[in-house]
Symmetry: C2
Subunit: 200 residues, 2 copies
Amino acid sequence: MNVICLDLEGVLVPEIWIAFSNETGIAELKRTTRDEPDYNKLMHFRMDILRSHGLKLSDIQDVISNIRPLDGAKDFLDYLRSRYQVIILSDTFSEFASPLMKQLDWPTIFCNSLVIDKNGMLSDIRMRQENGKMKAVEALQSIGMNVFSAGDSYNDLAMIRKADHGCLFRAPENILAQNPDLPHCTEYEEFISIIGEAFA
Amino acid sequence: MNVICLDLEGVLVPEIWIAFSNETGIAELKRTTRDEPDYNKLMHFRMDILRSHGLKLSDIQDVISNIRPLDGAKDFLDYLRSRYQVIILSDTFSEFASPLMKQLDWPTIFCNSLVIDKNGMLSDIRMRQENGKMKAVEALQSIGMNVFSAGDSYNDLAMIRKADHGCLFRAPENILAQNPDLPHCTEYEEFISIIGEAFA
């Protein structure tokens, strides 16, 4: 049985924090792991900012509802779901992903989750496990699945290399330069061809 | 992260072979594992009958397209998918499930597959693995998932008992009598309450 594991941000939807920062005008939320490599610290920095703006989870979800999937992403995903099984593997949080998953007709997603306090404010993060994308691919393989993985970032490389097949999608130059052996594409049509050939 | 593993036939859609037999009027296709306990033999018996009626995979899929999900199943599944992750675990074949998955807006399903010959006829079956439902639950738990499983048959008991939470849905009397410790429900509304309480 063929399963496709897809990264979310950059593959099907825009980078959520960037889009959220643009929607709200809160520039500090553009800070990424390049500026603060400790993800836990970065998330607590972001949660402090959200709190200082009085933004509850429901407000954040309202903003995220206005973020649209990438052009063509819905058709691409619909095509894949009618032919294969698809699981989105993401480092984001289910509470943020939810308004986007709704727009994509609720594909299955494995990601992390947030701790919400009694006032509806974000108070902590709950990571599912270390190296969660790669371990999810491994778990699928352990139950007899033939896995194709794709993504655009450093944190996708382990799952792409662990999978039976894989490619990069719209990856930045430095990742492409360091991974010349991986197929790469920038358009969904080509993406579909690469997947079709891998599973042929 | 919370994942619900649902059996397909009897939980979301009718028993496919029974419905297929009713749709086509081919009574012999009602034969089940109660009559022929060797599943491989039973499937080859069924494939011989399909072949003798000249039924290709495409014909079979056309018939299955006329089978409807159980009353209320689509709304039930939509509700679950908007709140949790759902994976359908079934012993059926992806080629049979596909017309039903389409009607349910393509939920993720882990099942088995068929070998189709060059004339489009069914020639063999390919089982993903032994005890596939239980092992899928185990694999999900191994990547940090909190799993709720539900089904109606003997082949669901192992996944229900392996999961963190579970219940029987519209199970026959003999299964209920042998498993008095498992929660049981017959309506989707109650099913949703049991799941909600388990994940609370």
